[in-house]
Subunit: 340 residues, 2 copies
């Protein structure tokens, strides 16, 4: 059988017991030009929460009764497609289930062997979170050496890579923003940022101004809301704001918190630009190659937060919003699958 | 004597009788490398209101007791500078007074004669409002033929030029946003926009969606606040928002209205960029030449709203916010000065 987690009803705040339910359907069979994938690991990303809302987005909402959309990795157990060989470890939209089907429409990429990295590391640094950090900083943010860079969600899977990459490429200063003293200590001590500010304490705007007295050249925003507003107040002349996500808003129902400081974009001739990593799909290899080299050289440290058991995927998703995770959150569906 | 209007106390909402006062000081004398300018006309721009606040901006606030900062035009009546000849009509920071001094620090540009345009037209279309429209649309907004363009403050001096320029350069559709049925009629019938929406009526977001069913490629924002939010909700994939001004917010004290739809920039991979026309100072000639040609060819219509008397400058400024003006608001200080 194939256990699946489907959307039961749309959440209004955090995901709870009524949001999803577990169903069992027959294991998929392998049709022409298809491959059947035994799912090993799910990538738990904040964007999944946005797909649960009945709201316009960059992908359609997940339908009631549909399997929760998610990327993940697994191993090919049968194939009638020239794209996939039995035994290949593949990455793609597995969704929250034990068995997935890869075909021409739902394409998976074959994870190269011989990287010297385990599957969790590959799913973190070489997965969408790492790739998002790479293109968001370098392409969307037009990072330049000497830039004063501020990153929110700095202890998170994307934020931690943004900061380390900026340091490695010659940033003038890298300041993180994270929730709570433990996370802030982790950002400085483990990920090597120059400083980290706790957004849960009061006076973020003035603390940011003190940390970046000449302004913020590049602000990489993972959270939106009040933190984005504080960063706008300190934006430097011709500064750039990269909108990657707005995790502070995803569990809010009703009207989102307004951003009051947009007129700073006028005063400082600054820009704010949103992006979705899927737009860089054809250049993923470039990012993965650069990031894999950094990991092997010890220039990029990373943490994975493993949650065991498909049925715990909804709780794992909530960890992203409560801050209960440390590093990239992954759900282990089948721990018998490993990269060679 | 030199009559001046100085800042008496900072306004909290609109400018009123307590905001400014008239003072008389001796006429300036002409020092070395200086020229004395008899002021003929003041350019009344929304940005003047922002300089009255004790808040960070692209220029320092006007000090209490200082003459209200303003651009304007006049004629050189005495000169000890090689830059200016007696009789030259010049444009620069005259401030709100009858006599101004041009020197190496406060430089004026000499208005070329032989344009075949009167002074009011030059101060409108070839002044900062027209130049702002030109660079905001073409450079900051990266206008492309075929773009669906939306302009707020569409009946205003900048907005009306933005729309006509977009039409002339091959926009797919040009939609204005203005206040009240008269202004909206003027935008379509006089300035030749394809459509104009009244922001004072309810449901602006849905009316904008109907007017631009495939989304807004380029939104030129002069007003900020709720109108900016509505435009963001309709932004097209890879759309561009040009932040030129936020006139709806300038008379508001306290916290400005928050923009709720910034996450649309992520969904639509869109960007929002602020600018100040002063950044294009060295390219003003390019804009003025293009705009003067359009006026002479009848491709650019324009209106000036003349207010007579220096002492009425504060009331003239309030017209910009009440919507009581039609076209570029100018204060005639001395109607004896004319372009040859």
């Amino acid at each position: 059988m194939n256990r699946q987690i489907v959307l039961n009803q749309r959440p209004t705040t955090i995901v709870d017991d009524s949001t999803t339910r577990v169903v069992e359907v027959p294991e998929p069979t392998c049709g022409p030009n298809q491959a059947v994938v035994k799912v090993a690991m799910l990538s738990i990303d904040p964007t999944i929460r946005t797909w649960m809302n009945d709201a316009p987005g960059y992908l359609p909402p997940i339908g009631i009764g549909e399997v929760i959309r998610s990327s993940g990795a697994g191993v090919v157990v049968s194939s009638r497609s020239a794209r996939y060989q039995v035994g290949d470890v593949v990455f793609g939209m597995t969704n929250w289930q034990e068995w997935a089907v890869a075909d021409d429409e739902n394409r998976f990429s074959v994870v190269p062997t011989g990287l010297g990295l385990d599957l969790a590391t590959v799913m973190n640094v070489l997965g969408v979170t790492g790739i998002t950090a790479y293109f968001g900083l370098l392409d969307v943010g037009e990072f330049r050496p000497g830039d004063v860079v501020v990153v929110s969600g700095a202890a998170g899977a994307t934020g931690s890579v943004v900061g380390q990459l900026a340091k490695a490429r010659g940033a003038g200063k890298v300041v993180g923003i994270a929730g709570g003293p433990d996370k802030c200590a982790e950002v400085v001590e483990h990920y090597g940022f120059d400083d980290c500010l706790d957004y849960r304490e009061s006076g973020l705007s003035s603390r940011l101004r003190s940390a970046c007295p000449n302004g913020v050249d590049l602000y990489f925003d993972n959270v939106g809301g009040a933190v984005l507003d504080a960063a706008l107040a300190s934006i430097a002349m011709r500064g750039r704001v990269v909108l990657c996500g707005a995790i502070s808003q995803y569990n809010e129902s009703g009207h989102p918190r307004g951003i009051a400081n947009t007129s700073m974009l006028i005063m400082r001739r600054a820009s704010m630009r949103g992006f979705i990593v899927l737009d860089f799909l054809e250049r993923y290899g470039e990012a993965q190659s650069a990031l894999a080299t950094m990991v092997r050289d010890g220039a990029l440290v990373h943490r994975e937060h493993l949650v065991h058991g498909l049925e715990h995927a909804p709780d794992a998703l909530n960890l992203l919003f409560s801050g209960g995770n440390h590093g990239k959150t992954l759900v282990v569906v089948d721990d018998g699958v490993a990269l060679a």
